[in-house]
Amino acid sequence: MFANQVYELRANLRDQGVVFAYSGYVTEGILSGVGDALKQKLASEDADTKTVRSVFAVFVEQMQNIIRYSVERLPPSGAKGGPDLSYGILTIGTVANNYVVQAGNLILTEDVEIMRNRLSALRDMNRDALRSAYKEQLRSAPNEMSKGAGIGLIEIARRASKPIEYDFMHVDDQHAFFALKATV
């Protein structure tokens, strides 16, 4: 019986073109492992170098966004000790000859507007504007690199071959689900 359920889950993903899917707590170790498998899979396909590297780059930034910014985490924000786990979902697949990397995680409702504004600005930028934004962000970021210098979203938009897509969903009073899709 349960084979049907598991198969259905798999079939649902495959119907959407998904080749890799990860849902759950993410760590840097997960990024390494899934990343290595993704590299091997991409190497086996006849995509050009630039596309392969861009898919991988978008995957890394999306994973690190979950790791750094998901508010669904263990130990809970503010608590000390234990592992550092961040909950999120990430899929990589192909749709109409393009690679699609999607990721989602919970954020605070109070951060939705600021995220929406940043993403909307990125969506409107052409290649040259994205180049300038990347550079400017890199220059203005503080000299400690722990938070990735806030440049990850710009990197995703730069590597994507179409404007990035984003969406927010109400979850409860304090939380929203943030989803980001990049097509390479």
Binding site: T49, K50, R53, V60, E61, N143, M145, S146, G152, E155
Partner: protein
């Protein structure tokens, strides 16, 4: 100063800082688990050497296949150190090698190169 030789891993580049010769190289991929832990010792060594050395020049080769956005900041910090040394009179040559098929890496090289006011900068195609 002791030379630095760090072999590449899946997520970190090979680093060879041959201070005796004045030839420094970073090769491979850079998306470390903890970018600070990986790069801080390199910053410290590079800064200390640039300040203390009596060598008239040095060459720094970036031969990166891929780096993530956190590593970009690290690259910028090293470029700034090199440019500062060049401003003080050192003959600094920075080479940026990129895969001919990867125009993003070429663009990134151009962008970093634009910020060098004193060091000499060369952008070169080299298949990985």
């Amino acid at each position: 100063m002791m030379n630095i030789e760090i072999p590449a891993t899946n997520r970190t580049p090979s680093v060879i800082f041959d201070f005796a010769v004045g030839h420094l190289r970073i090769t491979g991929e850079s998306y470390p688990e903890d970018v600070t832990t990986f790069y801080n010792p390199l910053f410290e060594a590079l800064k200390a050497w640039l300040e203390a050395t009596e060598k008239p020049g040095c060459q720094f080769d970036f031969e990166l296949i891929y780096f993530n956005s956190s590593s970009a900041k690290a690259i910028m910090i090293m470029m700034e150190m090199l440019d500062t040394a060049a401003a003080k009179g050192m003959n600094v040559v920075v080479n940026w090698f990129h895969d001919p098929d990867d125009e993003t890496m070429e663009e990134l090289g151009e962008e970093f190169g634009e910020d060098l006011n004193h060091a000499k900068f060369h952008l070169e195609k080299r298949p990985n």
